[in-house]
Symmetry: C2
DNA sequence: CGTGGAGTTGAATACGATCAACACCGGTGG
DNA sequence: CCACCGGTGTTGATCGTATTCAACTCCACG
């Protein structure tokens, strides 16, 4: 995955000037595993496009435990767009799970690109709507599915993530404890012998 | 709440022509309590802006039970924007909880208004981002909060809805059973004597 | 009146959380 | 090279919370 610039639709045909304006908002960085890119409670100043490696965002629940909010493998953007847009402090923390090469985006990046694209008659909101759909699906799952169903859905939706992330983080992504997930896994393995 | 047209930012200063184009996508309708405005499994053809009354959307879970996805009182829009934008069938059904006066919007309404506004340099995506934040918050709650916490959060966030909808729908909105919610309520009442 | 849906309450059950013990590496330092 | 260690995942026992099933009340509405 080369760059977030590649995600801009072909038909945009941005001028060199416009492209440069965007590129000025991007800074390539490398971070080792374990780096905390953003800490909850602060206003986000950057977003991260993953070129290589793996990031995750998480929140601290009422009991002080980390709950995984999302994973971001290659080609994904991780960002608290809401906090960023409305200048609020973010509940989310962002950390590096695998040594990563990321494009660090300034807070102006999205506004500028939306400005450029909307002038060209391209609606960027489709991306937001897609993200909406993902969130909506997750809510429906969390409301009505059992832990086993949640796990099975996760495995089929993100098969690669399974191999790359410690079990305990997947558990908190599903809103259950690591022990519970381990037992579910055991049960499923038993039934497939 | 007069019309969805009133939600268009002041600074837009749409031309009369533009306004008429939008108004042509709106049809005012009255529906009695109990009307099913949209059924899950079909592609949505309309969205609904609530002038008066109360709507809700819901899904059917794996066991065939209705799970409330959202409530829409006066001034809210109810719509499966994702399914609509990407021409998919919707998981959501939409029903009328209180006799309602709604503005029925064609599927073109959002595209047209985004087109009009983006030409004027106004970014409509803030609305989507706001919606994102609401969904995000709900996910975090569902992942880590107990039923009691979910209920208390609901009461403070939507105090008016509490009075207007049957308990069982609030229960499924929170992802719990009506019996459980009834007991939680009883406990809370006991502690406040 | 009578009927059916909504809400409450109780008993039994199931599911996941918690707590604890242990196995299994993957380092690190002696 | 090996002993030690901490972190991760597994497994078991117990506990707590929410579900399920059932009975009952209370209205709203015919």
């Amino acid at each position: 995955m080369a760059s977030i610039i590649d995600l801009i639709p072909q038909e945009a045909k941005l001028t060199p000037d416009a492209l440069n304006m965007l590129k000025a908002q991007i800074q390539i960085q490398q971070y080792p595993k374990g780096t905390l890119l953003h800490q909850s409670g602060y206003m986000p100043t950057k977003s991260y496009f993953v070129k290589q490696g793996l990031l995750r965002s998480f929140v601290l629940d009422a009991k002080g435990k980390e709950q995984t909010f999302m994973f971001a493998p290659e080609g994904w953007i991780i960002s608290d767009l809401g906090a960023l847009t409305f200048q609020q402090s973010s509940q989310l923390s962002i950390e590096v799970l695998e040594d990563a090469t990321v494009e660090v985006l300034t807070n102006d990046f999205f506004e500028i690109s939306e400005g450029l694209l909307s002038k060209l008659g391209i609606n960027i909101s489709r991306l937001l709507i897609k993200r909406n759909m993902v969130l909506q699906k997750r809510i429906i799952m969390l409301m009505s599915a059992t832990a086993t169903e949640l796990y099975q859905d996760f495995v089929t939706t993100y098969p690669d993530i399974m191999q790359r992330v410690p079990l305990k983080m997947i558990a908190t992504y599903l809103g259950i404890t690591p022990e519970a997930l381990s037992k579910i896994r055991g049960e499923i393995a038993k039934n497939n012998t």
